[in-house]
């Protein structure tokens, strides 16, 4: 970091930007501790989309009239904003998708179906979200390639020294790893995985869905070949995400979704594909959603990623400290300084569903379940955990309310 002044944020003030907090739940102010599932939206994002529909809406790209030009500029301006967010070399490499899941599927299908076969290996991690796990398992299965898992240690950190053993007996073609674990908050050394992948001629697919809301994600610094994110986790709308891919790879790949807009010339016998990024964007784009996405990125830049990261670290350290005071609580994952703002834990003798339900009665929203990480749950020896996750609008008192609720859950149910 080259900043001289320490960037900080004023969470109570930022909360005022988010209409959802004007409401009470069960008579209490909302302590929204489930941002890892999806973040709340500031008014600027909601309004950007309304304004787009009210003043600049038309189908993009092919229209000659002014309204279509305005809509096209809005969409392509948003692409440029997302390019900047990811520090991608070119906006041609930024593909709008519905969500990170679709982005990863795009790579698994369009790259995997043509490049994987018997004897090849896809290596994913035990920490992966199902969205960077099941597509690879499935496409590996379809193509006859092997599917292997890089294990984690007891703190939920990747065991890099197991890499060569995992790869034994096959040709590694894909390494798939999340930048930040959505269950444990673990920050993974994707740069090192990418280097290892590239030594073997494999591609590195980084799932940054959980990283991009909270930290700078620089695709060039990561060294990955593909990076997927979702807008809805970073104060943006549902229905849009982005896949970044290296132009050389995207250009050589077959397309994924076929249809309007992604073509060059459609023959009765054969069709040729359009240029990047259009080749991968079939049909009408999520236009208003892209505009909302860009508004969210602008909002986050306004707050500052360094400030967000620092704020979440403080909250995480505080939460882990408070949970450590409770001998009947088991917390999972690495220490605060090696994780993002996510805390997973269990209360002895109380099912997470009941914990979450009892917290809800006090207006505290957390997630309970497997967090789309069943392989990790098996590794931890549980079927489910409670997960509290923090964002720029989270304040310390919300963590105190969480801890209070845990006492209550234990009293009633354990």
């Amino acid at each position: 970091m080259t900043t001289t002044a320490v960037q900080t944020l004023d969470a109570p003030r930022l909360r005022a930007d988010f209409p959802i907090f004007e409401q009470r739940f069960h008579g209490k102010p909302l302590a929204f501790l489930d941002s890892a599932a999806s973040a709340q939206k500031p008014r600027a994002v909601i309004d950007a989309m309304s304004t787009f529909y009210e003043t600049s809406y038309a189908n993009v790209h092919r229209g000659v009239y002014q309204l279509a030009e305005m809509a096209t500029e809005a969409l392509e301006g948003s692409r440029e904003t997302v390019r900047g967010l990811l520090n991608a070399p070119s906006a041609r490499e930024v593909i709008f998708v519905r969500n990170a899941t679709e982005g990863i599927n795009l790579v698994a299908y369009a790259w995997g179906l043509s490049n994987l076969g018997p004897g090849d290996l896809v290596v994913a991690t035990e920490l992966e979200h199902h969205s960077n796990f099941v597509p690879w398992q499935y496409i590996a299965g379809r193509t006859g390639a092997g599917f292997r898992l890089l294990p984690v240690d007891d703190e939920g950190e990747l065991q890099l020294n197991a890499l060569d053993a995992v790869a034994a007996g096959g040709t590694v073609k894909v390494v798939a790893a999340g930048v930040v674990s959505n269950s444990l908050g673990t920050i993974n050394p994707v740069e090192r995985l990418a280097a290892w992948a590239h030594e073997r001629g494999a591609i590195m697919v980084a799932d940054a869905a959980q990283a991009a809301p909270h930290r700078r994600v620089d695709v060039q610094a990561l060294g990955a070949d593909f990076v997927a994110i979702s807008a809805h986790k970073m104060c943006g709308p549902s229905g849009v995400g982005a896949l970044w891919g290296r132009a050389e790879l995207l250009e050589r790949m077959e397309p994924f979704l076929l249809g309007g807009h992604m073509i060059r010339a459609v023959g009765d016998e054969r069709t040729t594909w359009g240029e990047l990024p259009h080749k991968f964007e079939a049909g009408t784009a999520p236009m208003a959603e892209a505009v909302g996405f860009a508004a969210a990125v602008d909002y986050l830049h306004g707050v500052g990623f360094d400030a967000i990261e620092r704020h979440e670290h403080e909250l995480t350290a505080y939460a882990l400290g408070r949970l450590a005071e409770l001998p009947w609580v088991t917390a999972y994952g690495p220490p605060a300084d090696r994780r993002a703002g996510i805390v997973s834990f269990n209360v002895d003798g109380v099912h997470p569903h009941d914990v979450a339900q009892i917290l809800d009665f006090d207006g505290v929203a957390i997630r309970a379940g497997h967090h789309c990480c069943q392989p990790l749950m098996r590794r931890l020896g549980v079927t489910a955990t409670n997960r509290a996750s923090f964002y720029l609008y989270t304040v310390r008192e919300e963590i105190d309310r969480l801890v209070e609720g845990l006492h209550k859950a234990r009293k009633v149910l354990a």
Partner: protein, 144 residues
């Protein structure tokens, strides 16, 4: 009564902490297992029949939240001594009335997991109708 007290009322906590008919029957005439994919709750149900298709005994095991465990416990009490054919078409409302608490769609899935699994066990042993759609509101219960 607060919402909290309504949901976790005494009888629910009692069934949760001291479940009736807990443990699998061995031998048994019918068995089925199911999970709620939303949260990983699991229930296994075993049944022994008496004369005709009358349910003589039921036993269950499972991991899950208070609602799912208590509801399954209550269910086992409710169906003992009744014919399989009758239980197979038992409307979910009958069980929900017994549980007697207001449930949101997600918690409804928890409460009805055991009933679905039981109906599958009866179907396997006696060819009774399978449970229909349990509603699409929050994902289906999966049976295995």
């Amino acid at each position: 009564m607060s919402e909290f007290e309504q949901l976790y009322r005494e009888v629910i906590l009692d069934h949760y902490k001291s479940p009736r008919n807990f443990g699998l029957l061995d031998p048994s005439d019918a068995t089925a297992e199911g999970q709620n994919p939303l949260c990983g709750d699991e229930v296994t149900v075993t049944v022994r029949f008496g004369e005709g298709d009358v349910i003589e005994a039921v036993g269950f095991e499972g991991r899950g939240c208070a609602i799912s465990q208590a509801a399954t416990s209550m269910l086992t009490d409710l169906v003992k001594g009744r014919p399989a054919g009758e239980v197979a078409v038992m409307p979910k409302e009958e069980l929900l009335e017994e549980i007697g608490i207001p449930l949101t769609p997600v918690r409804l899935k928890c409460a009805l997991l055991g009933l679905g699994v039981l109906k599958v066990a009866l179907h396997r042993a006696k060819g009774t109708p399978l449970p229909g759609e349990w509603g699409t509101a929050t994902g289906e219960i999966s049976l295995s």
